[in-house]
Symmetry: C2
Subunit: 385 residues, 2 copies
């Protein structure tokens, strides 16, 4: 119920035949409230899918009536025909709801290069069916319909004082900064204009989804949309609202991490003692993207040498011979030499905490990632075949 937890929203999730498994694959979220204020952030990948190019236009005026989403095909690099499919999808929803197509956000996820006539026909039929089946209890179906390799739907709600903000997310592979491979729809009944929604959303994604870097691969379709119905009649302080959106996004980001393809460890890389936040993020990201470090964690091997080799590739301010590294509470490296023997580190729990103290300043940041496993290789070598 999360995407419909806020007053003024209906949703649906239907089976359109896009997934070979016969599961739900088209979702629709509609704002029935008195405000249609909206904001969104999109992938920073330059190879943007058609739905992203379309939806960027839709959000230009800070207004959105609905979000239609499909799994089973990313509609990316599908030529002019693919863009027409996105346009037609928005038109189908608009017609069903009696709104303008220019106010319908479109999101797609699945394989790149998939988007032929059969795909289009199924998406359009699914969109119309979803529009006919909308309900205030449709959130769970919608969350199911956007799953691809996700093993569980992701939903969350944060309650404010007289208002709520809730949401759903999908994403399991290709998780990286500039947003993960993910589609996220957030809804609120707080009465706030688009610019406040936009500031809250950008602030939240910067410290949540943008710091989840499961496999370093940036998607072509990532979209996070926030819709306000204003139906609570309450206008919270901008800071309170921003904090709630950040909490919600952090919750969903952790759900994405926990369900990352093939992962056997959820790794939290906390970088402290940085000169500034950018340095801390750069250092954390370099570790999160180091294949050797990630493979070592899979093997429950506290290989701190690979951590240092990774941070040595960054331009951050620090002295390589004055860095402390701790793993699950044990300081294994201090001042350029081994400290507590790494045999004392237990990496068998799924949760792994890597603490890097750059000893250069007072700023910090945390990056979330996963290990590199046999299952990751299996899922991503067999995914499209």
């Amino acid at each position: 119920m999360s995407v419909t937890a806020a007053q003024g929203f209906t949703a649906a999730g239907v089976v359109a035949g896009l997934k070979s498994t016969g599961r739900r694959d088209v979702a629709l979220v509609v704002n029935t409230g008195r405000s249609k204020a909206a904001a969104a952030v999109f992938t920073s990948n330059r190879a943007k899918a058609h739905p992203v190019l379309w939806s960027q236009q839709v959000l230009g005026d800070g207004i959105a009536e609905a979000v239609v989403l499909n799994s089973g095909g990313a509609n990316c690099f599908t030529g002019p025909f693919g863009f027409q499919t996105t346009h037609a999808t928005a038109e189908a929803v608009a017609e069903s709801l009696g709104v303008s197509a220019g106010d319908v956000v479109v999101c797609s996820t699945g394989l790149i290069g998939v988007g032929d006539q059969v795909f289009r026909d199924k998406v359009l039929a699914g969109a119309r069916e979803a529009a006919a089946g909308l309900g205030v209890d449709g959130g769970a179906d919608a969350a199911e319909a956007i799953m691809t390799t996700d093993s569980v739907p992701k939903q969350a709600v944060v309650a404010g004082d007289g208002w709520v903000v809730g949401g759903m997310a999908k994403g399991a592979g290709m998780l990286a900064p500039g947003l993960a491979t993910m589609l996220v729809v957030l809804t609120t009944d707080a009465d706030l204009p688009a610019d406040v929604l936009d500031a809250a959303l950008r602030g939240a994604t910067r410290v949540t989804f943008d710091r989840l870097d499961s496999d370093g691969c940036m998607s072509t379709n990532d979209t996070v949309v926030l819709l306000s119905s204003a139906e609570s009649g309450v206008t919270p302080a901008a800071d309170d609202f921003a904090a709630a959106v950040t909490e919600l996004c952090a919750d969903l980001a952790r759900q994405l991490q926990a369900d990352a393809e093939g992962a056997s460890h959820d790794i939290r890389i906390e970088v402290v003692g940085a000169v500034d936040e950018d340095d801390a993020v750069e250092v954390g990201r370099s570790i999160a993207r180091n294949a050797l470090f990630k493979a070592a964690v899979f093997g429950n091997d506290p290989n701190w040498g690979r951590v240092l080799a990774a941070i040595g590739t960054t331009g951050a301010a620090f002295d390589p011979y004055d860095v402390d590294v701790s793993m699950n509470g044990v300081r294994v490296c201090h001042a350029g030499a081994p400290d507590v023997p790494s045999e004392s580190v237990d990496l068998t729990p799924r949760a792994v905490h890597v603490l890097v103290d750059l000893r250069a300043g007072g700023a910090e940041a945390t990056i979330l990632t996963n290990d590199l496993t046999h299952d990751y290789v299996h899922e991503n070598s067999a995914y499209s075949s």
Copy 2:
């Protein structure tokens, strides 16, 4: 015989007990010629191992008498004790040969954080034993002694007109730009001063080792040294010599790629139509580092969408909707849409060729990489345990 193919060099490789397998693990290459001119390039990783910090000093004056190398421990992040070990190693060789320790290059490879008293004792004893066993036929033993996870020794020779340049290399994992995890010793009997050697070596590594990016991980110990004995008495044109060194380095780089840990495909990513060479390298590197693309190749899946998603993350000049992608000779993507069905692509051979035409200019570059396999994960999760 490659590192001793040029006149004026002797070498040895001995068993010092650093490897648990009981294989050769300390190598020594000595310049016995009338010139001691030398040049080197080192890892650009800021977390440099003690031997790298030492050898950078040695090469400061363009003179080197010998190169001593050990596998079985990287002597990196081993504290002040570790630096003293490197110094003592150079002293041991210098004493045995009757030269200055300041002219002895030291290279180490193996686990980071390994370098205690036992390690030091073994390295010193091995260095002395190697010095006592030098011979003009010692190249093969030396090439064996520097192997870590390498399955085969790597050697190559290129003959000029009255002179030769030969070499040996080790490296199998942690292969990435700014040099791979590798140690390379090149020798020549061409009579050339240090500055010409330096220019030839930098030019060669820039287009060979620096464009081999097996797993995106940059080592702390990479070193490539070129020694000249001048014993041929021939001074080739600088261009001819540079071409020979480049050919030699390209040969060794391909040997490193072919032996990359766990790899089942050797992938050659050729980027053409770039505005400049830097753009071509950036685009090639982004593909080489994309875990999803690499896993797809492992699965013999010509997933060109992952190629486009990778290049979309770069800042190179191109229009994402006007890029051609071919795989093993089949153009699978043209002008932002599928072209020849990817079912026509056969990725079962070990050699995979990815051709990306950015259609933006006339520059090009080729990056070599490998696929992401179960064996890569296995070898790198179990390596130190």
